[in-house]
């Protein structure tokens, strides 16, 4: 036992603490009566409740999935964010195909042995998946119709993975990569 525990004040405090508390048995009833007397809070309409702040607790898994969903929305939305000039607000390189279509233009190539033919050009970002040609039944002819804006367009066909120029169109010379681009002029009454 320490000296401080022997102090008379300590014994005095302990005695007071041990004394049973005599509470008023009617106090609880009075408090509850006062609470019941208060007007009940008005129930907000559903649409207004949607704007009321409330704490939400999420587990890491649910929170992560929601965050991933928001990222997904951002990515998908970003695809539509390119402006008319093709340059988006954050300075990314432009989508070179971002122009208004004005007329349907037909591209054909004879490739009887081919299993797959696509059209790539400056109008579809040179993406072979965007304009696959369809074989005309019982022939070696492949065809696709593409909406193109007026102007001069460079393109090639991708025949079974090999890029080839259109044999029926003028060429623009060396493309800088050891191949030649074909040229199609649209919107000036030209068939070139």
């Amino acid at each position: 036992m320490t000296d401080s525990e022997l102090h008379p004040y300590v014994e005095l405090i302990a005695r007071e603490a041990r004394r049973p508390v005599a509470s008023d048995p009617a106090a609880r009833a009075r408090v509850m009566a006062a609470v019941r007397a208060e007007p009940a809070p008005r129930r907000l309409p559903v649409w207004l409740r949607a704007f009321q702040p409330r704490p939400i607790t999420l587990s890491p898994a649910v929170g992560g999935l929601l965050a991933a969903g928001l990222v997904g929305l951002g990515v998908i939305g970003g695809n539509f964010a390119l402006n008319r000039d093709g340059r988006n607000p954050v300075g990314q390189p432009p989508s070179v195909a971002a122009r208004l279509p004005v007329s349907d233009t037909v591209f054909v190539i004879v490739a009887p042995q081919a299993a797959q033919v696509s059209l790539v050009g400056d109008f579809n970002d040179w993406d072979a998946s965007k304009a696959p040609l369809v074989r005309v039944p019982n022939s070696g002819l492949w065809k696709v119709t593409v909406p193109l804006p007026a102007g001069r367009h460079l393109y090639q066909f991708v025949v079974d993975g090999n890029w080839v120029p259109d044999p029926g169109a003028p060429v623009a010379g060396d493309d800088g990569f050891g191949r030649t681009n074909s040229v199609r002029i649209v919107g000036t009454g030209s068939a070139l």
Binding site: P93, D125, W126, R152, P170, G176, V183, G189, L192
Partner: protein
């Protein structure tokens, strides 16, 4: 770990499903969205500088990015892509210097003529704009003729003559068809062009562009 959420029970499964669906949609989209990511940083900076230079001249940088994308889709190495873009930039700038302000398509076509091997002085004749006429066909046929082994001077002379005679688009188109057919039958490209140019109709109403006063 116990999965717990204070979201209403009826809301959680749809929220999870929608989130997962968006994520699944976004992943391939994010992978395909920016093919330019295949460029290394130095190459990208180099191309962006060229692009900025072109825009400072008031020109569209679309041909440069198109060239870049083509190289990327072809799987060409970055150095070759930058080289091709730089060459394109040089030809566009030269064409602009020679022709002055023209449409994007015409400028690109003129750059292709230079790229094919024509001299800027040969292109300078076309600086004299003819009202209501586009030189797109003339430039396109010109570049093609050079590519098909027609001597550069002969191609320039032929196209310039037709242009000064006021040839319309159909005339250039017919010329290209005929010369191409002749070459494929084995004729000498230069001779084929000469013969077809002589046959080309001259529009009587066409006036030569005014010659600037000397001195």
């Amino acid at each position: 770990m116990r999965l717990e959420s204070k979201l209403p029970r009826w809301l959680v499964p749809p929220a999870l499903r929608i989130s997962a669906l968006l994520l699944l949609c976004a992943l391939p989209a994010a992978a395909q969205q920016d093919p330019y990511l295949k460029l290394d940083q130095n190459s990208r900076i180099a191309i962006e500088q060229l692009s900025d230079s072109l825009r400072q001249l008031g020109l569209s940088d679309r041909p440069l990015w198109s060239k870049t994308l083509q190289g990327i889709r072809l799987g060409v190495d970055n150095r070759t892509i930058v080289g091709a873009v730089r060459k394109k930039f040089t030809n566009l700038r030269t064409a602009f210097t020679v022709l002055g302000p023209v449409g994007d398509a015409e400028l690109d076509a003129a750059a292709a003529v230079l790229e094919a091997g024509a001299k800027p002085s040969q292109l300078s004749v076309f600086k004299q704009r003819q009202k209501g006429r586009s030189d797109l066909q003339a430039f396109t046929v010109w570049a093609d003729l050079i590519y098909r082994s027609v001597p550069g001077d002969e191609a320039a002379t032929a196209i310039t003559k037709l242009w000064e005679d006021g040839a319309d688009e159909a005339t250039y188109r017919r010329l290209w068809n005929d010369v191409q057919a002749d070459i494929s039958q084995g004729l000498n490209p230069g001779a084929a062009l000469q013969a077809r140019v002589r046959e080309a109709p001259v529009r009587p109403a066409a006036a030569k562009p005014p010659t600037p006063p000397e001195g």
